[in-house]
Amino acid sequence: MRVTFKRTVGMVSKLYITALSIAVFFAGAATLFAFNLDAAEGTFSALAPLWTVSVSPILPVLAALLGMEVWSDERKTGRIDVLLSSPVRERDFVVGKFLGVWFFVVTSILLFLASTLAFLNFYAPKLAVSISVAGFLPGIILLILQGSLWSAVAIVSSALFRNAAGSAATTIFALVALPRALWAALSYWTRDGLERFGELPMDIHAFDFSSGLISVGVVVSYILLTFVALFVASKIISSLRFVGRNARRLRFSASFSLILSVLFSILAIALVYRVNVNFDIPVAGSGETRFSAHTRSVLEQARGSVSIIAFLERKDSRFRHVSHFLRSLKRDADEVGGVRLDIKYVDPVLDIAEATRLVREGIEKSSFVFERDGRIVHTLSIDEGYSERIISATIERIAVPFQRSSIYWTVGHSEATFDDYNPEGLSDVARELSLNGYDNKKINLADSNSIIGKDCALLIIAGPKKDFAESEIERLKSYLNGQAGNSDGGRVLVLINSLELRGLVNLLSSWGIRPGEIDLRGVSTMTGDDVIVKDFSEAHAITRTLKDQQVILYKPLGLSLSSSAIEGASGADLKRYSWLVEAGGRHLASVVECGSTRSDVAMRPSRLVVIGDVVFMMNNSLRSYANANRDFFMNCVKYLSGRDVMVSSGAEVDRLVTGMDRDTRIAFTVFSSAVFPAVVFILCVFFIVLRRRR
């Protein structure tokens, strides 16, 4: 076996097809990984499962190409007779050749992991810092198991054919094209589609293992099937001796033992699945959710017990992530010792009694149901997306007592509005505000009957396109100065992206902030019109927790200190200025706090936050969770409304954020999936030529 293994390694290492197959594997897996990484940007996906599910579908192609000549060439050249007359059992030949192919498969997997980590380290250093190589281990174990099975199948196919290309084509057809086509057809033609069939088992295995969910049944299945495939291969080689009159009897005997072995394997696999022993390994960076300080703070402050029911089919492709998410949430709740969380899973098909109760309550499937004291208090649709923020806000709302306050949005100047569900609308942030206990109200400052109520925690001017009238400016000034029935001083958030609003610009200038155009050349960008902001003030509460995050602003205005601010700094009307974010050396968001004395500034100041953009918080911009736009906005709101304690800690920890802009992403994709495989191919060919000449 050892001799055959060494010979197979020597033979395969001299084949040009080896260079091609490794290059194809690198290119295919890297392309899939780049696409998966792009699609997962800002989602809760972890890196290890993404990498594993990118490698898994290409692995059969690698095994098929590496194993195609292992037996077929022996048969084609007639060397098979020399082997059959050697004092070695067929099974030893088969296992030796299998190990030779398997060695290349495993080496390719490990090399691809190393290359991926190197590329990420270069192109996404922020992401690379948080990568734990140990987190890839369960995924690699699964890939090795799959690689073993695919290599064994490639050996079977190679033993069947004299033609190597026919062998490779058959293996690829049997392992890639046929199962995927069948699965796609079943999903397409049946009424429930993917919901009924779920994903392809081998893809699910890759995801589960890399997420730390190790199933003994799956391990046993892959090992047993590998043995069965090797047994089949050795029987095929043995059957080459069956050419005489006895051939039929011998073939029948071989077929009978094959059928028995397959039946035994099926029974063993069924038994192992029936026992269903699973291990959930908490592997860092492999899908285990880690929650932010904000969520942990909410869990700590919340009281009593809350039941969260995941009303979702276990076959649903999202089930695994949901269960990981909820399990991690419960673990954090238990750790901080606040609210007592009870997690339940109700399958609409399997848990009939409980499902019937929920349906009678009007709950649709694919929902989170929040219960308190046996009563349903809130539901969230999983279909509409869920996140740490939404879940923690819901828990905060139902288990943390607080007084609701209002946010007033100015209208009448073509502002973006909170009840607009279009991409340019602000319905997404309005939902977030509502979840956090704020009521959203409109106010038309031009209408004297429209009054800023005492419940106003904050006034927002969201990107007006028409200027404010003088009377409106006066109302704003008196609100800010605490002369509109608000003795604590006003809190205003101004989102401005036009310099033609003279009245508003003058108001801001009188508060010491002068908006102006900035040169966008040289700043980091994704599309050319936006600015990726990475410089946050560590001194201010709003941005302190946004370190290492990125906020994306669309053609923002720059903000500088006006002459009045400089004069005011030494005058009696004490103002404190702070910049929040900057890009290209220009401030893009600033804060002014104002009080009559220094102690006033600290205790009950008027607060004005100015951001030179409104697009960053529109529905369209918040669709991707890869940026911290949402956090930035919510931090501003909470700071202005005096809820500093609950300021979010930036983008949620478990979201996947590469930090790559468009150019970097293109470079990453091109280099990892085209240039690097090409270099590997050239190096392999060079090595092979050298070996052949030697």
């Binding site: 001799v3 007779d81 020399v82 059959l84 007359s85 004092p87 001796r241 050419v243 005489g244």
Partner: protein, 236 residues
């Protein structure tokens, strides 16, 4: 000693071997001759345990070779009609691979290879890739493989095919030199060369051994003449 008793073999309905019986003692060079398609190669494949016979028994040192195939194959050298070698390997590494495959202890392998290289006179090409060698040299390498571990049974199928006169002479010398401790069974069509080499001729026709001609006390012309007669008798 190799004993072949009542071997029968057929490809489907076509009976190739009906009743083949003979024995080859150590030191004997048995040459099987016959017309094309008579079953010489099939017989050698059966003797090499590549294919099992429909019926009959083959014994080596008194043991059924199909009951104890691994033990028998350890003492078997087999040369195919057309040598199929690993073209990417050097001569030396190929012989080393074959010796290891036959289970020879590593400490003895170098000596065995050197002996085979010397016997077959291919020391000069031992570091060359097999793919770059001429047909004759490849055949020598294949013969070196067959005699590598001084096997007790050596089976050589159409040993002189494709060899020039010098090569044929060399091949004869090699086979003579290794036959002292082995039973050699070979096939071929080059009667003159075979007559100088074989100790006994077996004429295979109609699935049976139709004639056994001992070369002892006969000159080459007589041997060839008797074989021709035997073959013609079959034809007529």
């Amino acid at each position: 000693m190799l004993e072949v008793c009542n071997i029968a073999f057929s490809y489907g309905a076509k009976e190739v071997l009906k009743d083949v019986t003979f024995a080859a003692k150590p030191g004997e060079i048995v040459c099987i001759v016959g017309n094309n398609g008579v079953g010489k190669t099939t017989l050698l494949k059966i003797l090499a345990t590549i294919t099992a016979p429909d019926s009959g028994v083959i014994r080596a040192e008194g043991q059924d070779i199909f009951k104890y195939p691994l033990k028998y194959r350890r003492n078997l050298g087999y040369l195919q009609e057309s040598p199929a070698l690993y073209e990417d390997m050097t001569v030396k590494s190929y012989l080393k691979y074959r010796a290891m495959l036959k289970g020879e202890p590593e400490k003895r392998i170098r000596r065995r290879i050197q002996e085979a290289l010397n016997t077959c006179n291919i020391q000069e090409v031992m570091h060359q890739t097999i793919g770059k060698l001429s047909f004759g040299l490849k055949k020598r390498v294949a013969i070196a493989d067959a005699i590598l571990l001084r096997p007790r049974t050596i089976l050589l199928d159409d040993v002189f095919a494709g060899l020039d006169r010098t090569m044929r002479f060399d091949a004869k010398e090699i086979i003579k030199s290794v036959s002292a401790f082995s039973s050699v069974v070979l096939t071929g069509h080059e009667m003159t060369d075979l007559a100088k080499l074989a100790t006994r001729f077996l004429v295979l026709s109609d699935g049976r051994i139709s004639a056994s001609i001992s070369t002892e006390s006969l000159n080459e012309i007589e041997i060839v003449s008797r074989i021709d007669n035997a073959l013609k008798g079959v034809v007529s």
